[in-house]
Amino acid sequence: MAEEIKLMKGNEAIAHAAIRYGCDGYFGYPITPQSEVLETLEELMPWETTGMVVLQAESEVAAINMVYGGAATGKAVMTSSSSPGVSLKQEGISYIAAAELPALIVNVMRGGPGLGTIQPSQADYFQATKGGGHGDYHLIVLAPATVQEMADFVGLGFDLSFKYRTPAMILADGIVGQMMEKVVLPEPRPRRTAEEIAEQCPWAATGKHGRKERNVMTSLELEPDKMEVNNLRLQETYKRIEENEVRYKEYHVEDAEYLIVAFGSVARICLKAIEDARARGIKIGLLRPITLWPFPSDRLKELSSKIKGILTVELNAGQMIEDVKLAVECKIPVYHFGRMGGIVPNPGEVMNAFNNCFGEASNNSDL
């Protein structure tokens, strides 16, 4: 049977994919530009079909704590919001990470700081990849560039978060959330049964059901020796994730003399710029990190011995560039080009920025 191709917004794809994944609960609060996630779920009424719970909470704070409560019982639960709302969720996200619970958080980024703007941005890169809340922790951060990836990363995010018992985040820019594209939705699968949850999540607070020891989901430990052990266990998990879960895509890298590093929808704008440049003989490649954490540092380091310089293009004042510089250990020049406040650059602007950074070198190319 041919795959069923649908046309929808990225935010709508998130909602459809959640139901099809067998998500147990979604807890949200309206905020532009991601409200279609909650709206679509309310319209689809999955509680009538899969039994998925959908609830509009009184705040982003309540929503993330509902996610914490649901995750603590072993359920596959998620929330979505946009930048100011995700700031409000940070306390809860820290608790979820500390209690070693699986959960999916979607941030469809808008411009900041403060109330900022409802237009697209990538300014929450630091917040998402460096922890965000208090304490030493990381999220697995997935950066979709297409509506298809919005749909696909729901399942990937849940799978990774259950595999490592740590929260995962889909960090989308407002463009990917709002734009409509063709998408093939994942095959529907049933929600896990109570028996399957008991088997897969023996740690969960489900009621003792004959268990001798009670299960307690907590992040509190007042004895320093034990608290350090808890921290070391988290760091061990992060190390395993860094070793096994780095994901990225490369375009035209084989013969590249220069590299653009960009994520999300911006990578697509850069790809167009690169293809235009290649038509004129300038050999630029693109590396698009899919996992922003863990970051593809090893690959960038490897590439740094073959290329002359890197331009990062971001919808912010220069955030991912720090990770790129760390990866290449400043052995080659790394520059940043960014637009802020909801402005999205066009391929021509990207090329101008590239020429400003590498003008001399690129002018010397055999055009």
Partner: protein, 253 residues
């Protein structure tokens, strides 16, 4: 057991509830938490809820409640227990979910979560320890601190013009359509303990029957925070707290 049996030498008439484990609690001797823990543990056992109960612990003195009562627990962030309980219950409707919160947790930092969980009529039990002070952090002013009451952050007594008024949270919750049972109890005398346990039983019966949100407020002592002996603290509570927080059912449907 007849009264003849009870008075016989060596017969056990009162013992540690099965679900209250033997770990030493961190509670100060004489505070109300010990008694409330005891009747809660007794009830969970008597009502056959050991396998179904999920407790949600607060931040505050009862933060370690999960160490003492042998059921599954989730430790919530400060004030967020009703949100945590909302999801735990909605996703597991066959379970019985309760929160155990102090006045700072339930009536200050968690006011929004408390009101909205109750307003949605979540089928949960909220156990509310109102001792008019922040015990865990060392006796600071609480939303329920009485006017004139001295605390670490109102050292000359709470003043309405600076600090506002003690909040009657159960009265607010009783007005919401989502609550089915709101009651104010205390555990300072044996008679009060028996009444309080009956009230708590009603609350759990409501949760099982999915009648809506039940709130059981315990007007409580904090002898350390109040700097009074346990006996004097009980006297002070009866003389001062009950006027502002009168005992009895505020709502029962």
């Amino acid at each position: 057991m007849t009264s003849e049996d009870i008075i016989k030498n060596g017969s056990v008439v009162y013992s540690r509830p099965r679900l209250l484990n033997e770990r030493n609690t961190h509670y100060c001797p004489g505070c109300s938490h010990g008694v409330v823990h005891r009747i809660l543990a007794e009830l969970l056992d008597e009502m056959g809820l050991e396998d179904k109960a999920i407790g949600v612990a607060p931040v505050g003195c009862a933060v370690f409640a999960y160490n003492y009562i042998d059921v599954d627990w989730i430790e919530a962030a400060h004030g967020r227990a009703p949100a945590v309980a909302t999801a735990a219950n909605r996703l597991n409707p066959e379970n019985v979910v309760f929160t155990y919160q102090g006045d700072g947790d339930l009536a200050a930092i968690g006011t929004a979560e408390t009101i909205h969980a109750a307003n949605r009529g979540e089928n949960i039990v909220m156990i509310f320890i109102n001792n008019a002070i922040y015990g865990m952090t060392g006796g600071q002013m609480a939303p329920t601190t009485l006017l004139g009451q001295k605390t670490a952050t109102s050292p000359y007594g709470r003043r309405a013009d600076i600090n506002g008024f003690p909040i009657k949270m159960s009265d607010i919750l009783a007005q919401l359509d989502g609550t089915c049972y709101v009651t104010r109890q205390a555990v300072h005398t044996p008679a009060a303990v028996r009444k309080a346990k009956k009230a708590l039983r009603t609350a759990f019966e409501n949760a099982i029957a999915k009648r809506g949100t039940s709130v059981v407020e315990f007007v409580s002592t904090c002898n350390s925070g109040w700097k009074l002996s346990p006996a004097k603290a009980n006297e002070w509570m009866a003389a001062n707290m009950f006027e502002k927080y009168p005992l009895g059912d505020l709502k029962s449907i």
